[in-house]
Symmetry: C2
Subunit: 325 residues, 2 copies
């Protein structure tokens, strides 16, 4: 900054005023231009840390994630949060905790030291979490998770709407006997996707038949093992709790000599790209809106989106058309 | 800090000296203890930004990644880098650029403003990159990529050793006619894995037979399409360029009525967990050491690992045993 001042023939204070756009400083247009030229010529870069200190508030937002290293889902939350943060002049401090409480405490302590505006506490799958006590010291938004009674704002996928969209897609293709392989794990996804499935059937005048709902482990093995029951049920279409279940079901149906979608249509959920886009045939599914969850959470944190109600912000899950329906 | 000083009955300067462990300050053990007690009682948190400024160097390391949102591979690099950085008192500033040059320039500008110690420029797959000019302004380490002639240190997977390990695993299982489905994309992986495959065969006294190398697109479609040639070749084992190729090959071999590993053994590469751990049977493969790449790159950046030689640092790729061999 001293070099810039010397080159422009002004004081260091003048440089600081021009560079930081401080209001109220009376600086002539000529001096202002000389400072800008010198900044350009010398490649001067204002020190963001010093600016933060003089402002008294930082431009950091913390993002704590439990699974950056194990799923691209977490990465999409980060990407959405980063784009929204950058757009609004903020930078993300990202920490992967691998679900480990000690790593989580370390991460939050670091973020507080760097005076973050707040912390996005995110999970790679929608479930209830115990929020670390240290987060009481800052503004916190929960992403793809929630904490009953904590009063913390929460941004989550609309599981019910997603289940409804998946089922409607099968109904639109002409199916009337639609099975649902649901997870055995209690979760908002289990409950919400089932509610959506039921609602789509009822509002189409078909009605809900509990004997067409098959509980299964939410992975390839669960889908594979459910194939026999699906065949026996006489269903012509199956909505799977997730893409991994659909991948296993594909193997099971193939062994039973059935073709997809000719003999039986299959819908997934999650849009786990490396699976869904590359099965034979490619899997039609419903996307979890991770990018949008991250972006929406930044808007809530910064007060751009108003969360006056004590209810989670639901983000819509779109249908992804491929070739299995 | 003023509250701490008042509670401890000392000056603000004394608090600062004690908290920042400044050498040369003559402070009695008693006053020192009173400050520590007050810090504890009041939950005082030293301001990391102010400490950084007074030190004149930051504790940030930048990490630029092209694909956090599309593959957990990038996440594993971040996780390894973060653990190593934290261990050494540094914090990562992570940016996902989605391979977009403008986002990359933004990310690097932000990192320079925050006076990072240096930048890890990482890719989710091993290839040659054009390093952004802005990185000339800071210490840079390339992770899972390289730039010929740039003189920049580079930390990459040992593709040759990985190809050799995969092939040796098949030879150890008694196979003598081992095919290799290699990618059609020119890359260090294409060249290195082939060299390792060849070396393992030659050193086992079997010799290299070019007619057993099948070029294919490096995805499920490529593996599926190669199945016929594999069957015709009379190979009893196949080393696949990656797990996605193996996934497609599984479908093709199944359609040809062959069982894995009974009729034909299959090795993958990458250890893309969501695929390899969940195929039927689970796929034996070679892991890309993303976590280790991230950790090693931090050590290179901080000068803990010496990179005097103008050669990339090769990180070993371990065999992951499952049930397809």
């Amino acid at each position: 900054m001293r070099d810039v001042a010397q080159a422009a023939g002004v004081s260091v204070a003048t440089v600081s005023h021009v560079v930081n756009n401080k209001p109220g400083a009376r600086i002539g247009a000529d001096a202002r231009q000389r400072v800008r030229d010198a900044v350009e010529r010398l490649g001067y870069r204002p020190n963001a840390l010093a600016t933060t200190l003089s402002r008294g508030s930082s431009r950091f937002i913390g993002l704590v994630s439990d699974a950056i290293a194990s799923t691209p889902f977490a990465g999409q939350i980060i990407h959405g949060a980063q784009d929204e943060a950058w757009k609004r002049g903020y930078v993300l401090l990202v920490a992967d905790t691998d679900g480990n409480r000690a790593a989580e405490d370390d991460a939050i302590a670091i973020m507080l030291e760097y005076q973050v505006q707040g912390v996005l506490y995110s999970s790679w799958f929608h479930h209830e979490v115990q929020v670390p006590a240290a987060l009481e010291q800052t503004t916190t938004v929960l992403v793809d998770c929630y904490s009953s009674g904590s009063g913390l704002p929460s941004v989550v996928p609309d599981e019910r709407q997603g289940g409804m969209a998946a089922t409607r897609r099968l109904l639109e293709a002409g199916h009337r006997r639609v099975a649902f392989i649901n997870t055995t794990t209690e979760s908002p996804a289990q409950e919400g996707r089932l509610a959506g499935y039921r609602e789509a059937l009822v509002s189409a005048g078909i009605g809900f038949d509990e004997s067409l709902v098959f509980p299964a482990a939410p992975d390839q093995g669960g889908g594979y093992d459910a194939a026999g029951q699906i065949v026996d049920s006489g269903a012509t279409a199956v909505f799977c709790h997730n893409d991994r279940v659909a991948m296993g079901l594909y193997d099971g149906l193939r062994e039973a000599g059935l073709s997809i979608p000719g003999d039986i249509a299959v819908m997934g959920f999650d849009n786990q790209d490396v699976i869904s886009a590359h099965l034979r045939p490619p899997l039609s599914t419903v996307a979890l809106p991770h990018y949008d969850l991250g972006a929406a959470a930044v808007r809530v944190l910064l007060g751009v989106t108003d969360m006056a109600e004590a209810r989670p912000l639901l983000v819509s899950c779109p249908v992804i058309e491929r070739e299995s329906v």
